[in-house]
């Protein structure tokens, strides 16, 4: 459904960055050193029909620029991209018929009511007045916005505005729905509700590509996840496959006021520890079949004269995978 070959976007330095809705984050973050910034670097991607595919990575990883290129708004420096078999670079106007987009910023039409936002969107995509009206009303009910139909969009809460953006993006039944950080800035309740919506759309066969820097979101929603950083895909698999790739069944995060490398050498020697990843607060210790690992970590720390500030135990998450691939945390 989506295919890219060596898709590359380089912003001339100092980068102007993509306009607001397209993040600004990627290029600005990547280009803050002033050099020409490679936002997306030789990306090869294949998204299958009917799946929810996630691009997981920190701000500046190139996720938004990737979506920008796939949705005709960012012109690639090199490489090729197809959406539903249409070359998005060569035939942007045709490709636009088949894509639905929810950008990071609120791009609702503030001069129109909630209903009119849907109605006119349908008309832009060639629907007759009759069909656009029927579909707009159906979506208003489906997205629990029926009571707000005649409301000015400026009066919507963040969660409602986001629901309307999603409703609008599927108004014309796109082949692929692009959601760029769809839950960023939403309250927890709206986030859960949006997750449910996304899953239901997918259950009806909607192909979805979403970007996120929330590992729970990628884990919960996505059939497959590509972990992205510095414009490249570092790993691509199902969430469980990615987690299995970490050679550990337990992950212990140790926070201590010591040099990460020193912590790594102290804890890396323990029995059952398969890997250590330094992080700013301390170190992440991967453990497989290590019984009684916590007391042993504390003993080792004490023996080395290390004062442990915090200790947490968890199963491997996508965050663990990300840290072990990049040495950084997702929120960085």
């Amino acid at each position: 459904m989506i295919r890219t070959v060596a898709l590359t976007k380089r912003y001339p330095g100092p980068p102007a960055g993509p306009p607001g809705g397209w993040g600004g984050g990627p290029s600005r973050a990547a280009g803050s050193n002033g050099a020409a910034a490679v936002a997306v670097d030789q990306l090869d991607l294949e998204v299958r029909g009917g799946e929810i595919f996630g691009l997981l990575g920190p701000n500046g990883a190139g996720k938004t620029t990737t979506i920008g290129m796939l949705t005709t708004r960012v012109i690639p420096t090199a490489g090729e991209a197809w959406v539903a078999g249409i070359d998005v670079v060569a035939e942007p106007a045709r490709a636009k018929q088949l894509i639905g987009v929810v950008t990071q910023t609120n791009t609702l039409d503030r001069s129109l009511t909630v209903y009119e936002n849907l109605f006119f969107h349908g008309r832009y995509f060639g629907m007759s007045g009759h069909d656009a009206k029927a579909e707009a009303n159906r979506l208003l009910e489906q997205f629990r916005l029926g009571e707000k139909a005649k409301t000015d969009v400026n009066a919507l809460s963040g969660g409602m505005a986001q629901r309307l953006m999603v409703a609008r993006s599927i108004m014309h039944k796109p082949a692929v729905l692009f959601l760029d950080e769809p839950t960023a800035g939403l309250d927890p309740q709206s986030r859960l509700s949006l997750w449910a919506t996304v899953q239901e759309l997918n259950a009806l066969g909607q192909t979805i590509l979403l970007t996120t820097h929330y590992m729970e979101e990628a884990d919960q929603l996505c059939g497959r996840v590509a972990i992205m950083d510095h414009g490249k895909i570092l790993a691509l698999d199902t969430p469980s496959g990615l987690k299995r790739s970490v050679d550990a069944d337990t992950v212990v995060t140790v926070a201590a006021d010591r040099d990460s490398a020193q912590l790594a050498s102290v804890f890396g020697a323990l029995d059952g520890v398969t890997k250590t990843d330094p992080i700013p607060e301390g170190v992440v210790v991967h453990v497989r079949g290590g019984r009684g690992i916590l007391p042993r970590i504390l003993q080792a720390a004490e023996a080395a004269g290390i004062e442990v500030n915090d200790l947490s135990v968890a199963e491997p998450t996508l965050e663990t995978v990300f840290i072990s691939l990049t040495g950084k945390e997702l929120r960085d």
């Binding site: 912003y11 960055g17 306009p19 920008g68 106007a93 088949l98 060639g126 039944k173 192909t207």
Partner: protein, 285 residues
């Protein structure tokens, strides 16, 4: 979401409703225009206020108050009749240029500056240049409406009689051309100005354009100030006003019709090109 009887999103269903690009673009263009007219209808009061106030006051002071108090321009009698006739074209022309800026440039500056609403319309299935051109088309419609609204003012506000001789063929061709030129100017400005520079649009552009746009005097009368006569030729409003005088009055000198048409078409082409280029630059990276 409760309605699971909704259409499914299979690929075949999606691809079945892909229209030929040209047909999809045509529908999108019409729908965008429809959207702009809907917004215009909703904001009709605002449209009328911003369109009427300036020309009304201008006409009121110069063609009603002045003759009544015997001051200024012509002082009264035949001279002030001549002036109110002369001013008819000028107020219509400036109202059109104003509208090009207010209907196209100002919303666009806001849009690129904060709201980013345009990002959604840019995703409609038509080429980017057509999204920009639609803005010009909608602006041109508003400029023509402005001309229609201001016309009766120019007829009825002056204290002295206004003598018009309408040349329909010129009028029905120059009005839309002038409207397109005004809206194209709006696009060119709107894609280049930052929100904090908006006030400069008025002080550096609109005000000089109107004062030096042959609103209050025919171009030929600038003869004694040769440098000014040549200088104002860069002002598109000059040609619009000269053209409107050609279409509406006799006895007042005006430029040659061919020159008026050629320059208005030329300005429109240049401004439209610059505007579309600016628009693309703002929405594509």
């Amino acid at each position: 979401m409760t309605d699971t009887t909704a259409t499914t999103f299979t690929t075949e269903a999606n691809l079945a409703h892909v229209r030929p690009t040209r047909e999809a673009a045509r529908r999108a263009f019409v729908a965008l225009l429809l959207r702009d007219l809907t917004v215009l209808r909703k904001e009709l009061g605002m449209f009328l206020t911003r369109t009427i106030m300036q020309p009304f006051l201008l006409l009121f002071v110069f063609t009603y108050v002045f003759p009544k108090i015997g001051q200024g321009i012509g002082g009264g009698g035949r001279a002030s009749e001549g002036f109110s006739t002369l001013l008819t074209a000028g107020v219509i022309g400036s109202a059109m240029i104003f509208q090009g800026i207010q209907a196209v440039a100002l919303p666009m500056v806001q849009d690129f500056g904060f709201t980013r609403e345009i990002e959604d319309r840019v995703l409609a299935p038509l080429p980017i240049w057509a999204v920009a051109f639609e803005k010009v088309a909608a602006g041109a419609i508003q400029a023509m409406l402005a001309a229609l609204v201001v016309f009766p003012l120019a007829l009825f506000v002056p204290a002295t009689a206004v003598h018009l001789t309408v040349r329909p063929l010129y009028l029905v061709t120059l009005l839309p051309l002038g409207a397109l030129m005004s809206a194209s100017l709006g696009l060119a400005i709107g894609t280049r100005v930052e929100p904090r520079q908006v006030s400069l649009i008025f002080s550096l552009l609109v005000i000089p354009m109107t004062f030096l746009g042959c609103v209050y005097y025919p171009w030929a009368n600038l003869e004694p100030i040769k440098w000014l006569k040549i200088g104002v030729l860069v002002n598109p409003l000059v040609y619009l006003n000269e053209g409107l005088r050609l279409s509406l009055t006799t006895g007042i000198p005006h430029m040659h019709a061919v020159a008026i048409y050629l320059v208005i078409i030329g300005f429109t082409a240049v401004l439209l090109r610059a505007g579309i280029k600016g628009f693309k630059k703002r929405v594509l990276t």
